[in-house]
């Protein structure tokens, strides 16, 4: 897991940047000192506009970055300038990008889907049988604590070429939080409803589908949000081991050719992919299961 975790942190630097609303604050707080009294709510309202603070942060960061690289003459293998990254990004061309993105996306989504298909029923089985739960849990923990990067080559050898080994690697990385969270959710149902179900002598499967599973939805979505970003990491890890295409492959390839701005471009594409997929999960929960969100987020 250490390998995948270092992967996780390696992919991060590009990610938190747009989330931080830092530079908007000083603008808002210094405003009342110079501007007339009613200017403050306006600036604040401006800062509250969705995307505006994020955009301002992003642009500010990029400008600072560009300036730093130029003024301090930082060599491009240490930190390429945004302009250099951008020009290598456009140099790649739309079609090549699409090939790489589609390759990674396909594996990430298939692996993620397989993880859901495996872990939700597994959690249901573990919920129903204490014995199975006791036998399976240690096994799951062992699988989870084995560094996937270490078994990835074995899986590739065992399952041959094609998407399958990469999908399996992705699933291995993503399914653990799903199983644990789903099992927790299934067990978190109010005991009164279980008594109600028993007092109605309803079949056990209906207790599962009509009570426990819907009650687990918020738990499942917390795990899905973690798992979807893990899925991208999983796909990339698999590409590092064996692949002819994919954004992870592209980054590795570019680095080995010392084309660092190009590798950075790949990294940014990867971060954008992760963010998009994460947002997709968030939106699905918002649209399909609005009741599963805390009240404030409706």
């Amino acid at each position: 897991m250490t390998q995948t975790q270092s992967q996780a942190t390696a992919a991060k630097p590009a990610r938190p940047a747009p989330v931080r609303p830092a530079p908007a604050r000083p603008v808002a707080s210094t405003a009342p000192a110079t501007a007339p009294l009613d200017a403050r709510p306006f600036v604040q309202r401006l800062a509250d506009l969705p995307g505006l603070t994020t955009g301002a942060t992003l642009i500010g960061t990029l400008l600072l970055w560009e300036a730093a690289v130029r003024l301090l003459a930082i060599p491009s293998y240490l930190l390429p300038a945004p302009s250099a990254i951008l020009s290598s990004f456009t140099a790649i061309g739309f079609e090549r990008w699409m090939t790489h993105i589609w390759s990674t996306l396909r594996v990430a989504i298939l692996g993620f889907a397989l993880a859901i298909v495996v872990s939700v029923p597994l959690a249901m089985v573990m919920m129903r049988s204490a014995l199975l739960s006791k036998t399976l849990y240690p096994l799951l923990v062992i699988v989870q604590s084995t560094p996937v990067v270490a078994i990835a080559p074995i899986i590739i050898v065992a399952l041959g070429a094609g998407d399958l080994p990469r999908v399996v690697i992705t699933t291995l990385i993503t399914f653990f939080p799903l199983v644990v969270s789903t099992a927790t959710g299934l067990a978190a149902t109010p005991p009164e409803l279980i008594e109600l179900s028993r007092s109605l002598r309803a079949p056990a499967w209906r207790e599962m589908t009509q009570i426990r599973l819907p009650y687990a939805v918020p738990y499942i979505f917390s795990a899905l949000k973690i798992s979807i970003t893990l899925a991208v990491i999983g796909a990339v890890v698999a590409e590092f081991v064996a692949a002819e295409a994919g954004v992870g492959f592209f980054i590795q390839f570019s680095t080995s050719m010392f084309k660092l701005p190009q590798a950075w471009a790949g990294l940014i594409v990867l971060a954008a992919m992760s963010l998009t997929l994460f947002q997709l999960v968030v939106q699905v929960q918002k649209r399909v299961f609005p009741w599963s969100l805390p009240k404030s987020e409706h």
């Binding site: 009164e192 409803l193 109600l196 109605l200 002598r201 009509q210 009741w291 599963s292």
Partner: protein, 260 residues
Amino acid sequence: MMIQQPPAIRFDRLGQVFRTRSGQTEALRDVSFEVAHHEFLAVLGPSGCGKSTLLRMIAGLLKPTSGQVEVFGMPVTGPRDDIGIVFQKPTLLPWATVEDNVIFPVRHKTGRVSPRERERAQELLAMVGLEGFGTRLPDELSGGMQQRVGIARALHMDPDILLMDEPFSALDALTREVMGFDLLRIFAERPKTVVFITHSVSEAALLADRVLVMSGRPGSVASEHLVPVARPRGPDSMKDPALLDLTADLRDRLMTRAAA
């Protein structure tokens, strides 16, 4: 007046001992009492004296370790269709509309819902004062309204017996009082055999035909009290001297028990 009919509920020298990893808990010992058909019985007693356990045994969710429970003259062997339960918390399904929550027992039991049952849900919602709220989600409702849905849900399969476990404990004092008067009206319209657990002495006296006071550890029946107030009852009954005497007496008994 109904001499030939067996009592709706009969406890016969019932005992319940829970075995847990940390040892045994004797929750109930030698509990015997009866509830007549269409009688409203309120049960008072300190926390942990086994009131909820009693209800779970009537509902057939728990087997007594000694003695027995009979419902309509038959020993309880498991859950029955003619018993409805209202819990302390409304515990509605947060994803289902109010109406779907009311029909939930039918859907959960049979997997199907007929238009007739939807109609019935509408009638019940009107009866508990929630006309027009059928399409709302539970979290759009106040605690009192949610508990009204819980009551409608328990009544939907038209049970003969209604078990209510501290149904108003989570509500504020005013809402609680209003709910009490509404219950009086509902059961005047559709008489039921009710076992109603509460910590409120005045609530017990206002609603019940008879009040059972339990003592704790192990739980057993300490005393029984007929409520000498005629029906129909309403806000004025609260000022009835007979009712005031009874509440004072009940309060004394509970106090001395709590102090002991």
